[in-house]
Symmetry: C2
Subunit: 182 residues, 2 copies
DNA sequence: TCTATATATGTAAAAATTGACATATTCGGC
DNA sequence: GCCGAATATGTCAATTTTTACATATATAGA
């Protein structure tokens, strides 16, 4: 999956691994994340497979050499083929916190309650972070080609993230109320 | 993570890999899933690590030998230690469908619309499935030790799954309306 | 100028997960 | 009694993701 995210962002212009890491952290983080180690190694592999081209930017002399990646035609074709594939089933949803709740029946009530309250706190923080996101300047500073349409879709996925967090917080409230009655 | 789910279910009584696969499919599937291949191999590893004990049930003569796993004290301790660990950050949320939407800005509007409508259909089906779940007979047929409290927690996670699907469907509706205006 | 911190770029091993292959048994219907 | 489908159990290779290790530059402040 990460491959398609990288291809997707490279549509808008050439970027380095670090650029991609930053962009992912500030945009897809509510539905996908990746460590820099995976981003760098995936880019190498994509380069070897011809999906992207790279060139080392040595302009600065002494500076750290930055490897700038550009989307190739093959890469663009791969992305479009993937987007065009009809999806037949929903991807599985995984949530480690829910596993913990599921098996909390034998745990101490107060321990569960403080875990739930902490979770609520963390989800509230996350929701607050989403409110500070601005899809308009997501790719700011890059020689990119982003349309109104693109940023509209981005905003809608961000909205999804917000609604997810809102639902989660509400569920945690219900959960806390219920555990208190036990 | 799968390890803790297996330990969790084995708390309630001995089970085979297949039993565990079935139980997972009908209970944790809205927040975790696993293929049988992973379940069998993880059980082997847990056996080697002493978290579970296994014995082959040859009672039926000709029958396929079923390997029945039982939780050991070490396994119980491992599970309880994990449940007791304070969580400091939220697990990442991943959703491949959202990646597709995010990069749909350059796609044909009608193609996007039919994908969104299909997704809505799939989520509606999933929600309908959840309504047929009965946490009470989740472990039916097993010599298990399930308390009222356990099934209460199970019901609450199922409720979370339903609220998630409801939120998702509502978002898809908004999304469809918005794409239609483009 | 030293120094701590953030920025930036990678490699490599380990663990988790997925997907493909393989096979034996049970059960219901014909 | 045969056959197809569902049940049941596994292995193995490939891929993906995580975690740990490593290192170099830039920048801001003491």
């Amino acid at each position: 999956m990460l491959k398609y995210i990288l291809l997707g962002f490279l549509q808008y212009g050439p970027m380095t691994g670090y650029d991609l890491k930053r962009v992912i952290d500030f945009s897809t983080m509510h539905f996908w994340h990746a460590y820099h180690s995976q981003i760098y190694s995936t880019l190498r592999k994509m380069d070897a497979d011809g999906l992207v081209a790279s060139e080392t930017d040595d302009s600065g002399g002494d500076k750290l050499s930055r490897r700038v990646y550009t989307l190739t035609e093959a890469g663009e074709a791969t992305l479009n083929a993937w987007l065009g594939e009809p999806m037949t089933e929903l991807p599985a949803h995984k949530d480690e916190s829910m596993v913990r709740v599921f098996f909390s029946g034998r745990r101490d009530k107060d321990a569960v309650l403080s875990e739930l309250r902490l979770q609520r706190e963390l989800h509230q923080q996350r929701l607050a972070t989403y409110h500070t996101f601005d899809v308009e300047d997501l790719l700011e500073g890059h020689p990119v080609d982003v349309s109104q349409q693109d940023s509209g879709y981005w905003a809608m996925t961000l909205r999804h993230g917000m609604e997810y967090e809102t639902m989660y917080i509400r569920w945690l409230e219900e959960m806390i109320d219920w555990v208190e009655t036990l």
